[in-house]
């Protein structure tokens, strides 16, 4: 017993001492990844794609303006306490400390939310996390980028409206909301209820208990209520279960729209033929034919430096989402370098880069990511930056894009974000920043 504790202590010490030896001209990025457990499919795909993109930048361009990227993974197991440990462990690593934290877990996001402001490390949550953090005046350190759950919910209504032949046709229709009964699943409730009032459709919320492999009563209810559309706000095993149950109930999958955490190959393939026709949202699309993904194939995998063991996953939804994470991180670094110089940047400087990040259509084309992800512009006021969502349909073998980028209902979402953020600010005694004075 004593020997083992000594060993652990020595090992831990070695770990803490070892991290002080980092190269000077490298930008350190800590990756709180998860590759085991129930969500390993998402974690390995997204962090894999992200690492591959950073490898591409190092291999092809020699880093960002000569500053190479370096990173280290820390296994969080999607567990909040482990996530906090990873955050603390990586905080001081590299020559400038960890410059950005992106945990891919809403729970870990909440757990480090207060810490990032004190430690001056930007917290970037792309497509998850705390929605009202989009109000950059109250949350200067948090960036729920590209789009939030609330924006997504409004695009879903718009997409359904377009399929019905116009938003005015939604009047009198019935939309069921099949959601994961957790903080994540409840994100869509308030917005969709407001949308129902605005457009006059009947809204039927149906909660599914975690993990979601038992949905009989909910589908019985759907059979009774006969909704015109079903919105699937699922996670993990809940998604294929819902698709299979829909097939059994005889509910058309063409009339089912999923959230972006329902729209990966890992959600549809397990349900087999039952998934065919199912549509899901995404702020990135699937496919390996985009120039940026091809460049990764050429410069990374041909040199055998790729991160994915299963190369068939390159170009999958999760993998491409990781590439989006990589693009945003690298572009923010580029933006910040333009102001602070071509050197490794600390968290404060990186935050400036994220806050002034502007990836327009032209830049997307240069990156080889045209149509791959939406253009975005972050400001001090708006940390979301885009809100646009595309819809993809599963044709039985792969995801096919079936819509253009759909704009969210900003007039509805933004006041809700500001109201919620103001409440948070009041609770925590935060004085919102005056954005007209920010440089």
């Amino acid at each position: 017993m004593k020997i083992s504790t000594t060993l652990i202590a020595v090992a831990l010490l070695a770990g803490v001492v070892g991290d002080t030896m980092a190269q000077a001209n490298e930008q350190f990025i800590g990756l709180p990844s998860y590759r085991v457990g129930a969500y390993a499919a998402g974690g390995s795909g997204i962090y894999g794609g992200w690492i591959d993109y950073m490898t591409l930048i190092n291999e092809r361009d020699g880093g960002v303006n000569g500053v190479k990227l370096s990173w280290e993974e820390c296994e969080t197991e999607y567990n909040n306490a482990r996530g906090v440990e990873c955050y603390e462990r990586m905080k001081k690593k590299g020559s400038t400390g960890n410059s950005v934290f992106q945990p891919l877990s809403t729970g870990i996001t909440y757990s480090v939310l207060d810490k990032v402001a004190a430690d001056k490390i930007p917290l970037v949550t792309i497509g998850y996390g705390r929605t009202d953090a989009a109000d950059g005046r109250v949350f200067p350190w948090v960036f729920p980028m590209i789009t939030t759950y609330w924006s997504q919910a409004t695009t879903m209504v718009k997409y359904i409206g377009s399929k019905e032949g116009g938003l005015d046709k939604l009047n009198g229709k019935k939309i069921a909301y099949l959601y994961h009964d957790s903080a994540y699943g409840k994100e869509g409730l308030a917005v969709l209820e407001k949308q129902a009032q605005k457009y006059g459709f009947t809204f039927v919320p149906l909660a599914v208990a975690h993990p979601g492999n038992e949905q009989q009563s909910q589908w019985l209810k759907i059979r009774q209520e006969k909704p015109d559309w079903v919105i699937l706000w699922g996670w993990g095993v809940m998604n294929p279960t819902a698709l299979k149950a829909a097939a059994k109930t005889g509910f058309s999958r063409e009339k089912m729209v999923g959230v972006w955490w329902s729209g990966a190959e890992e959600d549809t393939i397990p349900a087999g033929d039952a998934s065919k026709g199912f549509t899901a949202a995404g702020f990135n699309v699937a496919g390996a034919n985009y120039p940026v993904v091809k460049a990764i194939q050429d410069h990374v995998y041909k040199k055998n430096k790729g991160n994915m063991e299963d190369k068939s996953r390159i170009g999958s939804v999760y993998y491409n989402r990781g590439v989006v994470h990589g693009i945003i991180t690298v572009e923010a670094m580029r933006t910040a370098q333009a102001k602070f110089g071509k050197k490794p940047l600390n968290g404060d400087e990186m935050r400036w880069g994220f806050e002034h990040l502007h990836i327009d259509a032209k830049r997307l084309k240069e990156l080889g990511a045209e149509g791959f992800m939406p253009d975005l512009k972050i400001t001090c006021n708006d940390h979301e930056g885009s809100g646009k969502v595309k819809y993809q349909q599963w044709d039985g073998k792969q995801w096919k894009v079936v819509s253009d980028w759909i704009e969210p209902d900003r007039e509805m979402v933004r006041p809700m974000i500001e109201e919620s953020a103001a409440k948070y600010a009041k609770e925590k005694n935060i004085t919102p920043r005056d954005c007209s004075k920010e440089g």
Binding site: L12, V16, R35, V84
Partner: protein, 355 residues
């Protein structure tokens, strides 16, 4: 040679009944406390205090709570994480809704709320035992997390159902730095551990152990079963509740009900199984094993094996090694690390002349 009690004569009952009857033990404990209170905040860096020692102490407290219920009173429970959640959310609401609520009183109120809930879910223990009781406490686990998610009042109608711990302040002193939070947690844990140690040595503890060993016999000799079992549930839940409040206030900051899921309950149960069922020091050893070992493994893998294995294999390797070590320790000493510690002390008494 140095660790032996020869020559230490107890001349009073008081001396015979103290917590640590052997002088060397007393010195050892005082030394550990001195190191924990003085040396650690001075010598250890922020990472160690914030990410390792604070969670270790908090989980030790939760394990201590479960050990009172399972180890001493013999009632198996799978709801510890839920009782932690009650403590965290109750403290939050007391702080939020009562003006000028002192933080320590809020922790106590959080613990008391957990105790009340614990008593309610302990009622089935009067009729059912063993694994069946575990299933009943499993219901507590799911019900409490569900209720905290379902009713917005608990989280002050936060849109995503999370609570953000208020600032900790005692007599105007704000607990902001890692060291101050650590000292606060340490003081609470030491106080409660001392209380637990005394409780299990008193008539209450003896009643618990009598019920654990054979409840019919305990009843025959005049121990009130209902009173004893429910007291065990109350005290245990109180400890878990305070641990939950500390988890929210001194460690994570913003917590969601989902964070107190069944996984965490199992973890706490594993802590006492590995550490030693029915032992105060076992709760600490078990928490150290379950909290620190995975982190140590991850550090080792990331630092030393970086690039040797593909990342998915190295992540899974950690779980394999961790699981292997659990099995190893359970085979070597089924009674837990606390028993190993005891054996070590016995051997030390005779050393260097064991025969």
């Amino acid at each position: 040679m140095f660790y032996r009690e020869a020559g230490q004569f107890k001349t009073t009952y008081l001396a015979d009944q103290q917590i640590f009857p052997i002088t060397q033990d007393r010195i050892g404990v005082l030394l550990i406390l001195a190191v924990a209170f003085v040396a650690v905040p001075m010598l250890f860096n922020e990472y160690w205090i914030k990410a390792i020692l604070i969670p270790f102490l908090i989980f030790s407290l939760a394990a201590l709570g479960l050990n009172i219920l399972t180890g001493y009173a013999g009632q198996l429970s799978l709801g510890s994480a839920a009782f932690m959640a009650v403590g965290a959310f109750a403290s939050y609401n007391f702080m939020l809704r009562v003006d000028g609520m002192p933080i320590l009183i809020a922790f106590v109120c959080g613990g008391l709320s957990a105790a009340v809930v614990g008593i309610a879910f302990g009622l089935p223990s009067l009729r059912i035992k063993g694994f069946y009781l575990a299933v009943a406490t499993l219901a507590a686990q799911f019900f409490i997390v569900w209720a905290l998610t379902k009713f917005g009042w608990f989280s002050n109608y936060s849109s995503s159902g999370v609570i953000t711990a208020q600032e900790m302040q005692i007599f105007g002193y704000k607990f902001v730095t890692a060291e101050s939070k650590y000292l606060l947690v340490l003081s609470i844990v030491v106080l409660l551990a001392l209380a637990a140690k005394n409780m299990v040595r008193s008539s209450i503890g003896r009643a618990w152990m009598a019920v654990r060993d054979m409840d019919v016999a305990a009843e025959v000799i005049g121990i009130r079963i209902m009173h004893t079992k429910l007291l065990a549930f109350a005290v245990s839940s109180f400890y878990c509740g305070v641990a939950g409040a500390l988890y929210a206030y001194a460690y994570i900051g913003t917590v969601e009900p989902e964070g107190f899921n069944l996984d965490l309950s199992f973890k706490i149960l594993f802590m006492i199984i590995i550490g030693g069922v029915g032992s105060i020091v076992g709760a600490f050893l078990g928490a150290a094993f379950i909290v620190l070992l995975p982190i140590a493994l991850d550090v080792m893998v990331q630092e030393w094996l970086h690039g040797i294995f593909p990342p998915s294999i190295s992540s899974n390797l950690q779980l394999v090694v961790f699981g292997g070590l659990i099995i190893f320790f359970l085979i070597v000493e089924p009674h837990g690390l606390a028993r190993l510690w005891q054996i070590g002390k016995q051997k030390l008494r005779l050393w260097p002349f064991p025969h």
